[in-house]
Amino acid sequence: MGDDRKIYFDHQASTPVDPRVFEAMIPYFQERFGNPSSHIHTEGVRANQALDAARGQVAELVNSETDEIIFTSCATESNNLGLRGFLKANPDKGRHIIISEIEHYSILNQALKLKDEGYEVSTLKVAEGGLIDPEAVENAIREDTALISVNLANSEIGTIQPIKEIAEIAEKHGVFFHADGAIAVGNIPIDVKELGIDALTISAHNFYGPKGIGALYLRGGNNISPIFEGGFQEYGMRSGTENVPGIVGLGVAAELASIEMPKRIEHLQKLGKMLWKGLEEEIEYINFTGHPIQRLPGHISFWIRYIEGESLLLMLNIKGVMAASGSACSSNLKGADEEDLAASHVLTAIGVPAEFCSGSLTVSMGKDNTEEEVRYLLDIMPEVVEKLLMMSPLYADKLRGKDPYSK
C-alpha cells in the first residue's frame, strides 16, 4: 500500500493535547512563571489566579465545589492520596478495605501494600461483562470497613460501573467511597453530587490535557491527611510547588470537555457502533469483551480465537494502526525477565482463560478519529487475522476437528 498512514486508536492509554489546551499553557512556562505561593508580587498573584481559574473549570466539569478539587501529579498519585490519605486521617475507621479485581495497578498494588501493613482487603469479583454487583459490595461491608474504591470505567474492557448504586450502599453504611475516574472523567458526564461519591480521581491526559497533572475531588474538601510532608499547597493536603502550566492545561481541557462532551460522545458512539458491527461481520472468531451497553463511547475490546494479541498488535502497527493489547506478552516488553509477564488480571477476571485471553485487543477511539479511519481498520483486519490464523497450530487443530476452545 505504501502509505504512511498513522491511525491512533489507543486513547485509553493517552490522548493528544488539544491545540487550544497547549496554546493556553504556553504563557505559563516563561512569561507567567511565578510561584503561586509568592502571594505578594504580581507574578505570584497571576499564578494564583491561574490556579483558581483551573480549579473552577475542573469543579464545573464534575459539578463539585471549587475547594473540593486538589491538584496532583497524575491519576496514580490521586489514587494513592485518595486511599492512603483517607486512612491516615481516619485511623479509627477500621482496618478493612474493599476494591474490585479489575482495578488499576495504582489501586491493586496499593491494596497489597496495605495488606502488608495489617489491613484486610476484600477483592470483589466481577460478572462477565465486567460489572461489579452493588449487592456484592453490600455483602462485603463489615463493621470495620474503612473504605471502598472501584474504577468508574475500566480502560481495558470499557465497562462503566454502577457507581451511583455503590455510592448509596457506601453512604448507608457510612463507608468512604472513592471512584477511580482516570479514564472516565472528561469523556462521559460525571456529576459527583448526583453520584454521591466521596472522592474521585481525575487524569488530564485522558481527555486532551497534558501528562503529569491530575486531580482528586474530595467531598467537603478536607477529610484526608497529606501523604507528602512539605508546605501548605493545595489546602495543606498536597505539598509541592504547583505545576502551573499543567494545571492551566487541565483546566482548559476540562472546560472544553464540559462544552463539547455531547458532540464528542455522539461522534464516538457512531464510530464505536460502526467498528463493532464491522468486526462482527468480518471476523469469524471474534469475542467482544466488557459490557455491551454500559461502556465508554468509542471503546471496543475483543479477543480472537486461535491468535495471539501481541502479534496482532504488531501487524496492525506496521499497517499504521496503533491499539492496545491485554496480552501478557505485550504487557511489559521492557521488563527485566519473564516475571514481568502476566496475563491481564482484567481479562482473567471476566472469565477469559489465561491461555486464551492473549488475543485481546482494545481499540479506544478519540474525538478526532474519523469514519474513514474505522473503515481502514475494518479493511485490513480480515487479511491480518487470516495471516495469523494460517500460522496458528491451534487453528490447524481446529480444522482437524480438535478445537482447543470447545471443551
Partner: protein, 133 residues
C-alpha cells in the same frame, strides 16, 4: 522500525512479517509440539529427516512477535544440517541469529530450543522404537 525505543530488532520484525518455512510437512518424520499456555505461546515444529540430515523444516506458532520470529529463524538454521549439528543449536544461537531479543522474550527462544529437542526425541522414538507410525 529502526527506532531504538522499539523493543524488537529489524531482523525479528523481518522474520515476524515474512516468516520463513511457515506451514506443515505432510510426511514429517519428527514433530515437536511445545507450549507455554500461561503466556499464550505454542510452537509446533515439523522436520523431514533423511539419513541423519534435516532436509526440510517447517513450523506453526501461536504467539507473540518474538515467538513467531524465533520459530522462523530456527527452521532456517535447521534446514540442510545434520542431526549432530542440530543437537548443538541452543536458544542463545537462535536469539543471536535474530540480533537479540528483549530480556522478557528470552523464553520464546527457549521454546524454540524445546521444540527442537521434542522433535529430535520424537524422531528417535519413531526410528528406534516401532519404526514408522
Amino acid at each position: 522500525m529502526t527506532d531504538k525505543a522499539f523493543p524488537y530488532s529489524e531482523k525479528v520484525m523481518d522474520h515476524f512479517m515474512n516468516p520463513r518455512n511457515m506451514g506443515e510437512i505432510d510426511d514429517a518424520n519428527a514433530i515437536g509440539d511445545v507450549g507455554n499456555p500461561a503466556c499464550g505461546d505454542m510452537m509446533r515444529l515439523y522436520l523431514k529427516i533423511e539419513e541423519d540430515k534435516i532436509v526440510d523444516a517447517k513450523f506453526k506458532t501461536f504467539g507473540c512477535g518474538a515467538a513467531i520470529a524465533t520459530s522462523s529463524m530456527l527452521t532456517e538454521l535447521l534446514k540442510g544440517i545434520s542431526l549432530e549439528e542440530a543437537r548443538a543449536i541452543s536458544n542463545k544461537a537462535v536469539a543471536e541469529a535474530l540480533d537479540g531479543l528483549p530480556p522478557v522474550k528470552i523464553h520464546c527462544s527457549v521454546m524454540a530450543e524445546e521444540a527442537l529437542a521434542a522433535a529430535l526425541k520424537d524422531y528417535e522414538a519413531r526410528s528406534g522404537g516401532n519404526g514408522s507410525n
